[in-house]
């Protein structure tokens, strides 16, 4: 405790730098394990992650890249999607794997070595204005233990240092209007190839996502065969939809489809449980809802010639006891208990 405080208090530049590099290396170690999810990296809930992704846009200096435009809005759009999980995973995977898209440099392992190298650069650089400030702010931030702000500071530092160290090779990168791409060493720097590289990276990122989505695609290498697999998968899904629609059209519905939220909730249960278990549970929901309908509809329904299934008689027995149930608003549990008893009674009668 005391020696560390001494080193912090009476810090020479070298000592501070070593402490910082150690801290940053230790912090770097866990993130590469979980590069699959950006939110896991941040260890934050999704909304907070999105906030943080966008909040650096405002306080950052205008010279630093702002991932606005096409990169930023898709992420916002994805984040606002109701089916949230996948969309965020899409955006977060993109962010995690292709930092160039989002103007960040901190999410890949390869840049960690750059950062470590860039810190001695900032120390030795004759640029006192920006470098001491982030370095000084870092210990205070680290003491608070807030990872997102650390990342922001690290981003600022890395961007500042990387910009200076690569200035000679990437002059064109900063002139692009909305996508901030840093040309790495030894790569072409004209705007055409940069744009091509960005688009190629985007395409590769999305291909990877699709590979994960389509089962059995992750082992296949090569764009063409992956695309073929994807096409086959989409075709098979569409064929399944056709078959199921035939089944649904053929299966003459014996109960009203006028479900409300209760049924929609139960649908999720149906998917996860055995249908046989859920059947007695779901029938009463259906019956309760049906009794709300005007009575003549029930007559219509009952008079429909039904296919020869054993349940024909059961329907008639169901309706009358369920109509007497006044507790529509009761939770599904009590309704199911009632109905299970009545159903057992009905079955015994048959």
């Amino acid at each position: 405790m005391e020696p560390s405080s001494l080193t912090l208090a009476g810090s020479t530049d070298a000592a501070l730098e070593s402490v910082l590099t150690e801290e940053i290396r230790s912090l770097m170690a866990p993130p590469p394990e979980s590069t699959s999810s950006f939110t896991a990296l941040l260890e934050l809930p999704r909304t907070r992650a999105i906030e943080l992704l966008h909040s650096p846009e405002a306080p950052n200096s205008p010279g630093v890249a702002v991932p606005g435009g096409p990169a930023g809005t898709p992420l916002r759009r994805l984040g606002g999607d109701g089916g949230g999980g996948f969309a965020l995973a899409v955006g977060s995977d993109l962010a995690a794997r292709y930092p160039a898209l989002f103007g960040e440099k901190n999410d890949s392992v390869e840049t960690s070595s750059q950062k470590v190298k860039s810190e001695p650069l900032t120390e030795s650089d004759s640029n006192p204005n920006s470098s001491p400030q982030p370095l000084v702010s870092d210990p205070t931030v680290e003491n608070k233990g807030q990872r997102p702000t650390k990342r922001k500071d690290r981003e600022k530092k890395a961007k500042a240092s990387a910009k200076k160290s690569k200035n000679e090779s990437s002059e064109d990168a900063e002139e692009l209007p909305y996508v901030h791409v840093r040309a790495r060493r030894g790569q072409a720097t004209d705007s055409h190839s940069l744009a091509e590289r960005v688009s190629r990276e985007k395409i590769n990122a999305r291909m990877k996502l699709l590979q994960e989505l389509v089962p059995g695609c992750s082992k296949i290498s090569g764009t063409a065969s992956v695309l073929d697999e994807i096409i086959n998968h989409v075709q098979s899904l569409q064929r399944q939809v056709e078959l199921l629609s035939m089944r649904l059209a053929a299966a003459n519905p014996r109960v009203d489809f006028n479900m409300d939220n209760n049924f929609a909730e139960n649908m999720s249960l149906v998917d996860s449980n055995f249908p046989s278990m859920v059947m007695p549970f779901m029938w009463p929901e259906v019956q309760v809802n049906e009794s709300r309908q005007p009575y003549h509809q029930q007559w219509q329904f009952n008079s429909l010639p039904q296919p020869v299934w054993g349940r024909e008689q059961d329907n008639h027995n169901f309706i009358t006891p369920e109509n007497s149930l006044l507790s529509y608003d009761s939770p599904a549990n009590s309704v199911s208990l009632h109905s299970r008893a009545t159903e057992n009674g009905a079955m015994k009668v048959d």
Partner: protein, 170 residues
């Protein structure tokens, strides 16, 4: 053993939205075509099948909303298909086909410009463009994006439809 009385994961999720809309549309179909299985002819059965299929896609597109290009395309296609059926076939189809060909020509111009960049994978993408609704007006990058979302929604749709069909056929 799973708890049958587990609370739903997300009442506003894509799956529950789709279930609601799809069940409503199935009800509507049943109301409009109150034919039983014994009296329906083969042609009517096929018509009903097609209606159910279209209803499935349209309800999925509605559940997704207009945020996605493919959902917009399905809704647009369904609306135009209805118009074709309602009005006289000859009169309406000509205007529709003219509109559509104009639109396609414009889209093809866009495609040609961007083809230089993505030549190597664009050949395969043509098939994909035909499969994904609204895919013809997109560049390869957006096409992949839309395909991913479309596949995810198709999987949900198949699951829900299968569970409904299982439920009502048991």
């Amino acid at each position: 053993m799973k708890n049958p009385q587990r609370s739903p994961t997300n009442p506003g999720s894509l799956r529950s939205r789709f279930t609601q809309v799809f069940l409503q549309s199935l009800l509507r179909i049943r109301k409009h075509n109150p034919t039983s299985s014994s009296s329906s002819s083969h042609g009517e059965f096929l018509k009903r099948c097609r209606r159910v299929k279209v209803a499935a896609y349209v309800s999925m597109a509605r559940a997704v909303g207009t945020r996605r290009a493919w959902s917009r395309a399905t809704l647009w296609r369904a609306r135009n298909g209805e118009r074709q059926r309602n009005l006289l076939y000859g009169r309406c189809s000509k205007s529709n086909s003219r509109e559509r060909s104009l639109g396609k020509r414009k889209r093809k111009k866009k495609k040609k410009k961007k083809r230089d960049n993505e030549e190597h994978s664009f050949g395969h993408a043509k098939k994909l463009q035909k499969l994904v609704p609204g895919g013809e007006a997109m560049d390869f990058c957006c096409l992949l994006d839309e395909t991913a979302h479309y596949i995810k929604c198709l999987i949900t749709q198949v699951k829900v439809m299968r569970s409904i069909a299982d439920f009502y056929s048991l």
